[in-house]
Assembly symmetry: none
Homo-oligomer: 218 residues x 4
Amino acid sequence: MTQSSQAASGKVTKLNRVERNAWTKRKIFDAATKVVGKYGYAEASVARITEEAGVAQGTFYNHFENRQELLDQLLPKIGIDMVHFIRERTGTAHAARQEIERFSAFFDFIREVPEFLRILNEAEYFAPIGYQKHLDNIATAYVRILRRARHAGAIIDYSDEEFEAIVHMLMGARGYLSRRYSYVGGNVTAAPEHVISAYQKLVTRGLFVPERKNGHDR
Amino acid sequence: MTQSSQAASGKVTKLNRVERNAWTKRKIFDAATKVVGKYGYAEASVARITEEAGVAQGTFYNHFENRQELLDQLLPKIGIDMVHFIRERTGTAHAARQEIERFSAFFDFIREVPEFLRILNEAEYFAPIGYQKHLDNIATAYVRILRRARHAGAIIDYSDEEFEAIVHMLMGARGYLSRRYSYVGGNVTAAPEHVISAYQKLVTRGLFVPERKNGHDR
Amino acid sequence: MTQSSQAASGKVTKLNRVERNAWTKRKIFDAATKVVGKYGYAEASVARITEEAGVAQGTFYNHFENRQELLDQLLPKIGIDMVHFIRERTGTAHAARQEIERFSAFFDFIREVPEFLRILNEAEYFAPIGYQKHLDNIATAYVRILRRARHAGAIIDYSDEEFEAIVHMLMGARGYLSRRYSYVGGNVTAAPEHVISAYQKLVTRGLFVPERKNGHDR
Amino acid sequence: MTQSSQAASGKVTKLNRVERNAWTKRKIFDAATKVVGKYGYAEASVARITEEAGVAQGTFYNHFENRQELLDQLLPKIGIDMVHFIRERTGTAHAARQEIERFSAFFDFIREVPEFLRILNEAEYFAPIGYQKHLDNIATAYVRILRRARHAGAIIDYSDEEFEAIVHMLMGARGYLSRRYSYVGGNVTAAPEHVISAYQKLVTRGLFVPERKNGHDR
DNA sequence: TATGAATGAGAATTCATTCAT
DNA sequence: AATGAATGAATTCTCATTCAT
């Protein structure tokens, strides 16, 4: 083992049994991310994933019960990365403006992790368990945000049940918009200005109350 | 009563060659709708479809070039049915209220054709050509509606480009909402009241100008 | 039916039942020749042949018991054409020189009927009955020629049994040579000079006695 | 005794991974030889071959990219065996007599490997890549032999180009003769005496100069 | 734990032949 | 006699999973 490969593994000394195990599992996981991002779930055969990971096919089944189990873990894991990414890019402005920040950050994340979009969109049918988990994660966090905004007076007139519906609309809007506008000639691009402005108008007017000088939440 | 009108009436005694041909194609098509709606595109093998249709596998290839060709025809065909269905259920009220009618009609259509949702949602990956065709159909018609509303003064302050983005948001919203709320215990149900009200609030406030006594479009 | 198509059929007036029948059979036969010559027996599906002939698939079975029957008729029919063609191009010179004329004429025939080579060569495996018939036709005629030459004193020291072997050698030589030298860049070409001279040397010296002034056969 | 030498000896107790792998591939190869020899390439389906080999169909594709790849390897491999076989049976007599030895040895080889003839003859159409490879192998070696004979004075008056043509004639002659005379009632038999004598006369007189007391080549 | 050959159930598609009209 | 839709067996190839080493 060379120094550089040790460095890449994050360890400097020889790996013990547990670490080697985790390291192999990680290799398979990362390979799956790459493969699904590039070819989609349907083409993500165990053969392709293990080849990309540089391990034998049999090794796969030492770490995952079966192909589906891995596929179902893919989206939730990346989904959490996304939540962190967006949270870091959201400031303390008025709630309506924060929502626009989140919207933009979502598109930024797609550019950061181009595999995400495909993994997200196909998951509903190829990794339904993972998809559900992801959706619950996001919806829960999102509803909490809206509630907080309502508590701060930035939203009125929406019930908790309606929040849940709103959250699905916003997620759906993002999904369709990203599919439509994130790809130009095979490359992942930033959201066009008019897309952001349209989202801003719809959401700001439709969901939030007009911002006043002292209307900051938190 | 002519032979052809006999065929159309569903009460068939004897069909001529052309009618028999169309009838068989139709059987395959309907079987595919059923199968894809129930099992999804991935599981819609030619064997399954032809079995459902009650014809031999080889017969399939007398009517469709290959499996994909049929799959790509599925969504656009049903999509057009949907457009007609919604149009029939849309009155002449104020534009904002018409949009809510369309929203409700969409959910009604899903109950009418429960296969539609799955055929629509999976199409992006399993029948991309058909999906694109469908999306274009819908987006074009939808943008035209919004423009007319703007011309009638029911919408202001949105550009054509923004309309396109809005249309994708609305389609995305419907898609996610229908996935979340249309199924209860395996049955297709009507949209809950709070979903309709949330949509109504978001869209009415976000997209349209407040309705005045003389604010009808057209 | 137009005048020109009547002319093409070789008939000027309306065709009666028998003639129509023969005409259809002929169309199928010619189509098969074309198709096998271009794509080979293996790709000569009934669908392809009938399409080329401009008739329905079912029509095929009104004229031929099955696909194989037609294929087996192909080679013997053209083989007879070849025999006539070669015979017409053979003069009354010394037997050895006649053999060279036949050899050259064989290559000329290939250029005249470019389908022949493929039909001949593949027939052994795809139309074995027809192949055998053809081989018998040719061998019989060829042996007769050699016997006549022996009777005329142009060949000595070969028995009838040996003649049969010689004939197979000569046919084999032609077959391999034509495969090797008749195609250049997809086109059928004349036999190169050195091929003819090599054949001439081998056969003239190996089979015939040296030509004398009065050594003409016949 | 090493493991590998155990394998080579045919008496096998335990094979290691590499040996097992080679052993399986060999089983498939041998099965293909048998099947093609008996039924021809066209009937040599993967199902038939793997059944004959006693392995699962899927196993086939662990060892060969596809069906055609195997078929194209068949003839060149056996062709090399044939060359060795013939070379071993060729003495140091005069070149003309050596040629007769080779001719006889060819027929002996067919009796040794009865599958060869069919594998050879059909290859042109079913395994064209393998056929070309084989033909090149043989023609190259054959021309080299003729040149050596010319250098030794046993052949005069033939150019290199003519040699190539001669070689094709000899190969064609053998091919046709073997088809005609090697099978009697389903069994492979030796070449009849009159066939050998006819070949001997034609080639000895047609290609070589009369043998003198000191006319040995080499 | 890692390996990779072996498995066998299916997948899409082709095509000679039949047969009702 | 002509038609052409219907048939279904057979083909090649894929791939998740198993298991002996």
